[in-house]
């Protein structure tokens, strides 16, 4: 069963679109590369959203996270890009993405981005 990292986020219909409810996903196994030094960075990504017509399919979300493994990415930028890609894929009513990055140079960084549909 070959599976590959992929930037494509799949979606499935939300069975309860008549109601606002929250889905909270924690992904402690995110890694990418530092764009300056090329060395590995590690983070926990947390996604909280209120779906509209679609919910994100979890296996594709896992492969999406994997797709950053060999990419250089700044902490602030990659957290914003994950939010943008999720908004593009599932058009949620509200969404918040948090990147909780491991200590580098004695400093710990947490980036939190939010979006709300107009």
């Amino acid at each position: 069963m070959p599976t590959q990292p992929s930037k494509k986020l799949e979606r499935v219909p939300n069975a309860h679109p008549d109601r606002d409810y929250e889905i909270d996903l924690s992904i402690p196994e995110f890694t990418c590369l530092c764009p300056l030094t090329g060395q590995p960075d590690f983070a926990t990504i947390r996604i909280r959203y209120v779906p509209d017509q679609w919910i994100v399919e979890l296996k594709s979300l896992k492969l999406y996270m994997w797709s950053y493994r060999d990419e250089g990415a700044f902490h602030e930028d990659v957290t914003n890009r994950i939010l943008n890609d999720l908004v593009a894929a599932i058009a949620p009513r509200r969404i918040e993405v948090t990147g909780d990055w491991n200590v580098r140079g004695g400093i710990k960084t947490v980036v939190t981005v939010r979006y709300e549909a107009p």
Copy 2:
């Protein structure tokens, strides 16, 4: 004393309907089957509600939770269905149901659904 899993939620009269108060129930022993793979899933279900004329009877709630043991159920859907069944059974003033699911594929999912009587 034969007891059986059952989707029937029993109710008892609320002895203090003149007052808004909260009942918070935690049920760490919920299990159902994954609709895609047929393998067991595990969750903690938490129910917080403000009763109106009825409160849910706890033994029937336990048998109700048991009734999912051999059913296939998606995380998002089953959390919504538990809320719907409780609303139908006890017509609370407000209710919130949270399904806190064990890690699958390195991703942890928590689903939170709310209802408020008109």
Copy 3:
């Protein structure tokens, strides 16, 4: 020094009635009997209130809690009754009583009742 369980709650004057402030009492040693099976139940009772002219005397509160030791009492009902008795005894500006009950049948129950003086 014979002390006895008693439903009588004593009060002492509030030395600072000109100001709203909070008193938060935790009583981890509450036990009564299940009205259905007669078996012991255990809870932690927590009382948070803003006093008006009176504050509750702590030794009488301890004897009051003791007075439930041989009584049958439903979780939801006894939490409401403790609040009612405190309102009758000390007429607080605001009060919240929480009964945090031990697990029964795999379900943990927490009941929270609030009152605010008109």
Copy 4:
């Protein structure tokens, strides 16, 4: 289904007497009375034992613990008596009983008693 507190500890055969193994039981709902003041005392009782031919039946153990509810008992003495009663009932190879008592007068007391069959 009337159940009553009882000092009688029931036993069931150990299905694996050929092997030393440990059974560890925690009972956080123990209460008795202070022999000096008559006021309630609370403890967690923990029992760890290696069975020989018998293991203790859990429902009778629960009723046994309940039987102390209206008895006066010193911390040190009751912990020893629980051990003695268990040794008499199930003749374990080794057993340790711990009584972990709530704070009284600003002092927390934990009593640990051990027995080993000759």
Copy 5:
């Protein structure tokens, strides 16, 4: 260097009075005497305030806390008095004082008092 307990709270000028900011002080080593029994009581005192023109000098605050060591003081009263003395000494914009008292008679008491300048 003789230091003595003292009810006198010293103050120093606030170097940043143009801005609202919070100072949060925790003092886990407070002890006084029970006014009824004369026995020692123990508490953690926590002070959170927004300074106006003055901030409290920490060494004098320490000696102030020490000054209660041989005084009888009710839980509710002493928490209010500490707040009053701080308001008199440094005239803060807002202040909250919490007294978190050790368990007595199986009951834990926390008293929280707030003041806001007109």
Copy 6:
């Protein structure tokens, strides 16, 4: 990809049999049925062993745990049986199996069984 519960434990060769080392497996998702009431029981199973020529294959271990889902099993007995089945399948140098069972009737039970090859 149909997968089924199965009592068959698969094994793979130990690549480092020349050395004693420990493998520690935690399985928090074990459930079976109470042989007396037919109601679900829940446990965390922990396996610690020093392999000889074989190590247990993890997917078969997961299916093995699943195979208890519809079986009645006593706490003490099932913990011993899991150890026996592992000894039969992989003949380890040393092994310890712990069953950490959820509270029933206010009592928590932990069973620990050990085996050492002659």
Copy 7:
């Protein structure tokens, strides 16, 4: 009911002298004075012992701890003296006294003293 601090430790007969067992006492409310500065020091005292013919009476132990409130005492010395006084009063088979002192000058000190009867 006047009670006074006192260096006199009372004892009561050990009802189970035929058996070695442990009594573990935690006293988080110990305070004395620093012999150099006269300022208050705070500690948690922990006593673990195996009684022989006597066990220490808890109310006298509380008054004993109170008796240090106005005494100057070095950390190392007072921990040794508490052990000596307990050995003199109850002649235990084994005893360990730990003084766990609050931070002073950025350094936390814990002193542990043991005695075993010949």
Copy 8:
């Protein structure tokens, strides 16, 4: 690669200025000198901000924190100064700086300063 402590905070362009999002930085390795005694003080500095056109460059932030190592600084003042320097360097939309200082004289101090762009 010689690096030196420096009060100069570098900045890099914010790649997502169209959106309000939060950056949360924790720096547990801050030390300066007490202006009264000259002895070392230690703190954790936490910075939470919503960037406008600029974000702070992390290596320069590390050297900035290092620059306090040999300076005398009052707790309240240094926390305000760090906020002022960050506002001057990156002109954030909102920013909060917290200085969480180690215990001195039995008192723990936490200072929290906030700024919001007009």
Copy 9:
């Protein structure tokens, strides 16, 4: 400053070879690939050793861990290999390597390997 993943472990002389002492290294950022599925695995590696003539240089250790990022590796095998490579590089008196792997298929695996010089 280009740095590259590398299997070469550098060493520096132990300045205190006359004495047995322990060095304990925790590396929470280890990732490799599952040899069966090719998907990423994550672990914390912990190394505890008593050096003889050499200690491991930390930067080379970091690059060594990085070198597994694109390799397929079984949990048990890679933990043994890390130990073997460290023994070859620094010939310690004693060493223990623990691989603490993230949950896969509901099972958490910890592998612990030890070596002692003859």
Copy 10:
């Protein structure tokens, strides 16, 4: 009261040399410089010892720790040197020094050194 960092460790007579007892000191505020980069390093130093004729004077210990503030020091070496200096100053019966260093390059280091008098 000018105080200065100093490598001189003062000692005071042990008042109880007839008995083996333990003194456990934790110093969370240790900082020195990295010998390679000149940047600050941070550690918690823990000292556990059994005194013979002398105990270490705490104020001099604090100044001793301060004396490393501007020195370059390798993790392994400085932990050994602290032990050596303490042995030279107070000739304890047994002593253990632990240096628990903050994360550098994603690796946390703890060094533990022990000495026992012949």
